[in-house]
């Protein structure tokens, strides 16, 4: 049987894409442990590189893979809901800090979008690119909705999300060392606010406390940006 028709046969079942994802994830996590958990190379990036390499090697189109992998990604919905549990468990500690968090969130979430947009605009990026990277710090399901409203492209948005999420992790450890911060609440909140789901996953590796603050930062940034960005976009286009 030629390799091509074998591949066609295997990809008729979503289990092939699911198996490929599980294998890449397990090997990626294994390599990550073997490399002594480097903060500049998160497990998810290793796994994503392996997976992309495997797809290119066997010649499986991304669209076909993605369709099969829907069987996994559909779980993102209940998994996001599940974050309500650590959020509840850490409520007393979050409540202690409600005042600084309420002041910090709108400023930090606005700046998270503003810095990148200002730099891209100065470097001469097109309006479509600006609209695609505006939601770079927002968790994927919310960010996709925002980007569609702004008129950006989803593929570029997901790329911006990956780069932002991955780069947030070493940025936070560097900046925390620079500013002499070892408070896991602050580090977790910064990871979730800037690095959405990827930062939150990293925070849960640090401790449940950091993870809870990251989930909080991630969800508040998502809600705030979903309201702010479309509004800001409308104001700017009226003004210009």
């Amino acid at each position: 049987m030629p390799a091509n028709s074998l591949l066609t046969m295997l990809t008729t079942t979503p289990l092939f894409a699911v198996g490929l994802t599980l294998a890449a994830y397990l090997i990626g996590s294994g390599l990550f442990q073997r490399l002594k958990r480097p903060s500049w190379l998160p497990a998810i990036l290793i796994a994503a590189l392996l997976l992309a390499g495997a797809l290119a090697l066997i010649g499986l189109p991304y669209a076909t893979y993605r369709q099969g992998a829907t069987w996994l990604t559909v779980l993102l919905g209940p998994a996001t809901v599940a974050l309500g549990m650590p959020l509840y468990q850490q409520l007393p500690r979050i409540y202690q800090l409600w005042r600084p968090l309420t002041i910090c969130l709108p400023i930090a979430a606005t700046l998270a979008a503003f810095y990148a947009l200002a730099i891209a605009w100065l470097l001469g990026s097109s309006d479509t690119i600006l609209a695609s990277i505006a939601a770079k710090s927002v968790t994927a399901p919310i960010a996709i909705g925002i980007t569609e409203q702004l008129g950006g492209t989803t593929a570029l948005l997901l790329g911006a999300l990956l780069v932002t999420g991955v780069i947030t992790i070493p940025c936070v450890s560097l900046a925390a060392r620079f500013l002499h911060i070892d408070d896991e609440r602050i580090i977790g909140f910064a990871l979730g606010l800037n690095g959405h789901a990827i930062g939150t996953v990293r925070a849960f590796e640090l401790s449940p406390l950091a993870g809870a603050f990251a989930s909080l930062g991630m969800s508040l940034t998502g809600i705030f940006s979903a309201l702010l960005l479309p509004l800001a976009w409308r104001l700017i286009s009226i003004a210009s």
Binding site: T21, L22, Y25, I44, A47, A48, A52, L55, Y62, L72, T73, L75, P78, A79, T80, V81, A82, L83, G84, M85, L87, Y88, L91, L97, R99, P100, I103, C104, I107, A108, L111, A112, A116, A120, L123, S125, I133, K136, S137, T139, I142, G145, A155, L156, G159, V163, I167, T168, C171, V172, L179, I181, D183, R185, I186, I187, A190, N194, A197, G222
Partner: protein
């Protein structure tokens, strides 16, 4: 099967989120609405039922794997944006570094202040 009934709870909250979005037109994802509802419910009940914990704990551990299929898509759009990548990467990397510094600095001082007062 406590995990199974917990999973049903999580799915139900997500579906409630869908209904809320459908009627309110809010530009928020149903997952986030479900998460806030779950947190509120647990706060009212005052404890985490075993079934919810049994379903939520493993799902949270799997979050990284669940976002992987979307993340991989990036490697397949690289060609479409030839010539634009430098500007985009500089904006994302530098923008994120500045934004992380601001968040950490701001929160450190705000928390320091509330402790001092």
């Amino acid at each position: 099967m406590p995990a199974l009934s917990g999973f049903l709870w999580l799915i139900s909250y997500w579906l409630i989120g869908e209904v809320v979005i459908h009627f309110s037109g809010l530009p928020i994802s149903s997952g986030v609405i479900g998460m806030l509802l779950l947190c509120a419910t647990l706060a009212v009940r005052g404890r985490v039922p075993n079934s919810i914990a049994a379903a939520a704990q493993p799902l949270i551990g799997l979050l990284a794997m669940l976002i992987m299929p979307g993340v991989v898509g990036v490697f397949f759009i690289v060609g479409d944006l030839a010539g634009q990548w430098t500007a985009i990467l500089v904006a994302l990397v530098l923008g994120t570094l500045l934004s992380v510094l601001t968040t950490l600095w701001l929160l450190k001082h705000l928390i320091g202040q509330s402790h001092a007062s």
